[in-house]
């Protein structure tokens, strides 16, 4: 467990000191909201349209962090160091999942209020939307770490990660849109079907956390 904590705190400390990913993600998200405002020619969003804009923006901002997740490991020989160290490779997987989860949560804490201000979302809906996004983060983190490790060890690098990740998270986005849609509905948040969608989000998270945990050692072998 100490390897897990060491890697996690290393990642968080690096991010806090260099601020490489988070400000870029937040700026990207806010700019994307502005583009959607003109692309859709709408100043107010509700229901499925609001859910779609929010989720797509979060997803593409997340891709920035996922692409950068293993840059240090790749460039500075971190993968070799992990291979040499007498630790379970799954510790690296879990530490990176938690780190990515924290980045995404931090992004949403910034982006969600901006979204609400821009598009006239009721403040009362935000906590429940954030709960949905937390489940989305977990699934994104599990699949993202897996695919990012593959991407970092390939020649195509930045190209491969989004290419493989996007189809992989379609079910996650389906469930997230289903859960967020009634929460952002025009007449105030409603909880219709929320349980069903939250359960399928949790199922997706669980399945891909288990898959990642099980197969991760094969990505580090050499």
């Amino acid at each position: 467990m100490s390897a897990f904590r060491t890697i996690l705190f290393k990642d968080l400390r690096v991010e806090l000191r260099t601020l490489q990913s988070l400000p870029a993600m937040a700026l990207f998200a806010v700019t994307t909201f502005v583009i959607f405002r003109f692309g859709l020619d709408r100043t107010d969003l509700e229901g499925s349209l609001a859910a779609g804009v929010l989720l797509v923006t979060i997803l593409f901002a997340a891709l920035l962090a996922i692409n950068r997740l293993f840059v240090a490991e790749r460039d500075e020989g971190g993968f070799d160091a992990i291979r040499l160290a007498p630790i379970d490779p799954a510790q690296l997987f879990l530490a990176k999942v938690v780190a990515l989860f924290i980045y995404l949560l931090a992004l949403e804490v910034i982006a969600l209020p901006v979204f609400a201000v821009f598009f006239g979302t009721e403040a009362g809906a935000l906590p429940s939307v954030l709960a949905v996004l937390a489940l989305v983060n977990l699934g994104l983190a599990a699949t993202g770490v897996l695919v990012s490790t593959i991407g970092a060890n390939s020649r195509a690098r930045d190209l491969l990660t989004p290419l493989v990740l996007l189809p992989l998270i379609v079910p996650l986005m389906i469930a997230a849109a289903g859960a967020a849609d009634p929460l952002l509905a025009a007449g105030g948040p409603s909880l219709s079907d929320a349980g069903k969608w939250m359960a399928s989000l949790a199922l997706y998270d669980l399945v891909f956390l288990l898959v990642g945990y099980a197969v991760y050692e094969f990505l580090l072998e050499d």
């Binding site: 390939s154 189809p167 079910p171 469930a175 399928s200 997706y204 094969f218 990505l219 072998e221 050499d222």
Partner: protein
């Protein structure tokens, strides 16, 4: 090795016979559908192809697990070939599905049909198998990463079908959802023969591609062996040869 050629031939013959029988049944035996008429007969091509493609993906995941467990490269080759055939059959399934949608519902693409949509998403994921695989230079790592992908994607398939089905309100008339229960006996028989024919085609093509793969790897092995011996002749022509070496 010598056994593989006749059995591949036998498979090919069986495939031709089964598919021929299937098409004969489709055209001369199975009744026209009461609602859709003749066009419904694409069902006997489309559904078996789609089933074979999905089974190919499951097969790929199975071989990928075996590859990761044993490290034996042959399982990786099998996993690759299964995905390759699955993607080819998947393309055919999407095209035939689109034709059927156009004929039955007047549109080339119908988002209300969850099976077709799920199939598209699965197809898009497996289409990234090639760029992933060929972006990794190291042979062993390439095989391992491809297997990790095949396992992950294999788990993804049922989850995806579930999520897409949940997203549809199921208001669309699902005439063919009850393929086993509601189908008349003649249609069921035709469908099963067509399914057997497609499955045989899938297995035969896999067999041929595996044979081609093992042959081409044998050829490149031989070529490497020849190349390793060959440099002696040109080198001796260019470089001055020490008398003792020239003698030996």
């Amino acid at each position: 090795m010598s056994l593989q050629v006749p059995s591949a031939r036998a498979l090919a013959i069986a495939t031709v016979v089964a598919l021929g029988a299937a098409f004969a049944l489709v055209f001369f035996y199975a009744p026209n559908d009461a609602d859709q008429g003749f066009i419904q007969k694409i069902f006997y091509v489309h559904v078996p192809i789609a089933i074979c493609a999905l089974i190919g993906f499951v097969l790929a995941a199975f071989h990928a697990v075996r590859h990761l467990r044993t490290g034996d490269a042959i399982h990786d080759v099998r996993s690759y070939v299964a995905i390759h055939m699955g993607v080819i059959f998947g393309t055919a399934a999407l095209i035939t599905g689109s034709i059927w949608a156009r004929a039955a519902w007047g549109k080339w693409w119908v988002w209300e049909e969850p099976t077709l949509v799920s199939f598209l998403i699965v197809f898009l994921l497996y289409a990234t198998y090639y760029p992933l695989r060929y972006a990794i230079a190291d042979r062993e790592r390439q095989a391992r990463y491809a297997s990790v992908f095949a396992v992950t994607a294999g788990v993804f398939v049922p989850l995806n079908f579930m999520a897409v089905r949940m997203a549809e309100s199921l208001v669309h008339p699902r005439v063919f959802a009850t393929a086993d229960g509601g189908l008349p006996a003649e249609m069921l028989l035709t469908f099963l023969v067509a399914l057997a024919g497609m499955a045989l085609l899938f297995v035969t093509l896999m067999r041929f591609e595996l044979a081609a793969k093992s042959t081409s790897s044998a050829i490149s092995r031989l070529r490497r062996a020849v190349d390793n011996e060959a440099p002696i002749a040109p080198a001796s022509r260019i470089a001055p040869v020490a008398p003792s070496e020239a003698g030996s």
